[in-house]
């Protein structure tokens, strides 16, 4: 493998995982943008999305561990999106909404608590060991320019890109998106325009959590395993991606996710894959030190 091939291969691998980070980061950034809460349970929603997919695949597998067809995968993505969306909605309704008028710190600590509850619930149901996630049947791969491309990577890109464009459309081109942005800027004025703030927040949780659920299934199928504590580390990395792009900023979360994946991929290729996490969280520290508002974020003062 030449230097150029190594670079391209790591670029591709990095962007693939970056696309998953971006899907999860969107949920962090949307919720933060609208209620200034870092939803630490969001990583768990992602992880549970993977388990939703896993459970569905088990129903369709002819024998344990058999590969799944593209149709079953699509069904798994839809079920996971719906299940995770509903889970996110219920978390907001039961844990965060009662604390809407409480100090921000109360909701933040509650989010950490919800995260532990979800992790341990999944551990009790599915066990603590890694669970094998079936791979895509007849998924080809090809070598082009000396780089190994798999169909699953292509699928991750296609699905993520489709959802990100769809989200941009919803947020910037529809009445619902307009009311979401209005609530993010001035909840009281939005309410006096007849917008139900609680409803808009609920919809934000539905959308953000649904995206994380899709990310979970893609992640599980790509790496072939899922574990109850996967949501913790991946969630923190997606949060890093959101901060990198500018938390509260939707295009920022997409750019931040892809960029973080890229840095991790290149770091893994040129240093060692053991340095991946050091690089990811090193980025978090550097962004917070040098440019706390992130790449695309506005200065905090501009929000007021």
């Amino acid at each position: 493998m030449t230097g150029e091939q190594l670079f391209l291969q790591q670029l591709l691998n990095g962007l693939t995982i970056g696309a998953v980070y971006a899907l999860i980061a969107l949920g962090y950034t949307m919720v933060y943008g609208i209620i200034q809460l870092v939803n630490f349970a969001h990583g768990e929603i992602f992880m549970i999305g993977a388990y939703f997919g896993l459970s569905l695949f088990a129903c369709f597998a002819a024998q344990a561990g058999a590969a799944i067809s593209i149709g079953v995968l699509a069904l798994g993505l839809i079920v996971a999106a719906a299940g995770s969306a509903l889970l996110g909605f219920c978390i907001d309704r039961s844990a965060y909404r009662p604390l809407r008028k409480a100090p921000k710190l109360s909701a933040l600590i509650t989010a950490i608590g919800v995260s532990f509850v979800l992790q341990n619930t999944v551990m009790l149901i599915y066990g603590a060991q890694d669970r094998y996630v079936p791979s895509l049947a007849a998924a080809g791969s090809m070598d082009w320019m000396g780089v190994h491309w798999t169909a699953m990577q292509g699928l991750i890109f296609a699905v993520s890109l489709f959802l990100m464009i769809g989200l941009q459309w919803v947020v910037y081109r529809t009445p619902l998106g307009r009311s979401m942005r209005a609530v993010a800027q001035d909840p009281l004025a939005a309410q006096l325009m007849g917008i139900s703030v609680d409803r808009v927040i609920a919809i934000t949780f539905l959308i953000g959590s649904g995206l994380a659920g899709v990310g979970g299934v893609l992640f599980g199928v790509y790496y072939s395993t899922i574990n109850f504590h996967d949501g913790y580390l991946t969630g923190l990395k997606a949060f890093t991606a959101a901060v990198l792009g500018g938390i509260g900023n939707i295009p920022g979360a997409m750019v931040g996710g892809l960029l973080l994946g890229l840095l991790e991929g290149l770091g893994a290729g040129y240093l060692s894959s053991q340095w991946k996490n050091v690089i990811a969280f090193g980025v978090l520290v550097l962004v917070l030190l040098i440019r706390p508002r992130g790449l695309l974020g506005e200065r905090v003062g501009d929000r007021a």
Binding site: S179, M193, I195
Partner: protein, 262 residues
């Protein structure tokens, strides 16, 4: 034509801790009239608006709204519910959505008259969603032309001058097709020319049947446009009547000029 009461305040009281911001305030606003609330700083005018629009909940009293009075009182309703019943408002310190364009701000005002739910966002190709978006756009365009801000449609609201922002806020409030408009110091910071235009505009709105409740410091605006004036001082109503009657009322003169002037 008999006056029909659209808004009916009965003994509305609001306290902040030990301070009584509104003390048993009662008055009625007739449909199709311009009623002004005046009073010195701290008299409770904005608190009154906040109680009517649901931002604050008065401890005592009732606020009836609507000719049919389908509900006994607005007290306890959420602000977005009150907005949906047909009360729109502007703010003393302008509260536009600064990062959104003028057009988007005004379209936000049309939101209460549309469904605009999650399904419409995911699948916007239904007949109803299409009709709604067409109606909203049409409404926004007409309001922008009328208030002479159509040239600014694509500018972010925060980039506009003060007078322009006031007009955008007025357009946003009108976009909801309200029955009643609450205006909190709409003339503050306007030039003489802009102030005259505002007064003409308010009279035109009244002509069209809109009911307006106005808070205003500037007596050169209040006296010529108002049908009825309510005077608050230290949270209590000290007088109400026609502009002429109120100007001659001894207690009003005292509240405004102090005892020494008598």
């Amino acid at each position: 034509m008999p006056d029909e009461s659209l808004l009916d305040l009965k003994a509305v009281t609001k306290r902040f801790g030990g301070v009584t911001a509104l003390s048993s305030v009662s008055f009625e606003v007739s449909k199709g009239k311009i009623v002004s609330v005046i009073g010195p700083n701290g008299a409770g005018k904005t608190t009154l608006f906040n109680c009517i629009s649901g931002v604050l909940r008065p401890e005592e009293g009732q606020i009836g709204f609507g000719l049919k009075k389908t509900r006994d009182s607005l007290v306890g309703c959420a602000p977005h519910e009150i907005a949906r019943m047909g009360i729109a408002r502007t703010f003393q310190n302008i509260r536009l959505f600064g990062q959104q364009t003028v057009l988007e701000n005004i379209l936000t005002g049309t939101y209460v008259r549309t469904e605009a739910g999650l399904l419409d966002a995911v699948w916007p190709w239904t007949r109803r969603a299409h009709q709604e978006s067409h109606w909203a756009m049409d409404k926004a365009m007409r309001l922008m032309e009328r208030l002479e801000i159509d040239a600014l449609a694509d500018r972010p609201a925060k980039a506009l001058s003060y007078g322009q922002q006031r007009r955008v806020e007025l357009a946003r409030a009108l976009a909801s097709d309200p029955e009643m408009l609450l205006l909190d110091e709409p003339a503050a910071g306007l030039t003489v020319h802009e102030r005259q235009a505002l007064m003409d505009f308010l009279r035109a709105l009244r002509q069209e049947g809109l009911t307006i409740l106005l808070i205003e410091h500037d007596m050169k605006v209040v006296m010529p446009v108002s049908d009825w004036v309510v005077v608050l001082d230290h949270g209590a109503k000290i007088a109400e009547g026609t502009p002429d009657a109120v100007q001659r009322h001894p207690q009003v003169i005292e509240a405004y000029l102090g005892v020494a002037a008598l």
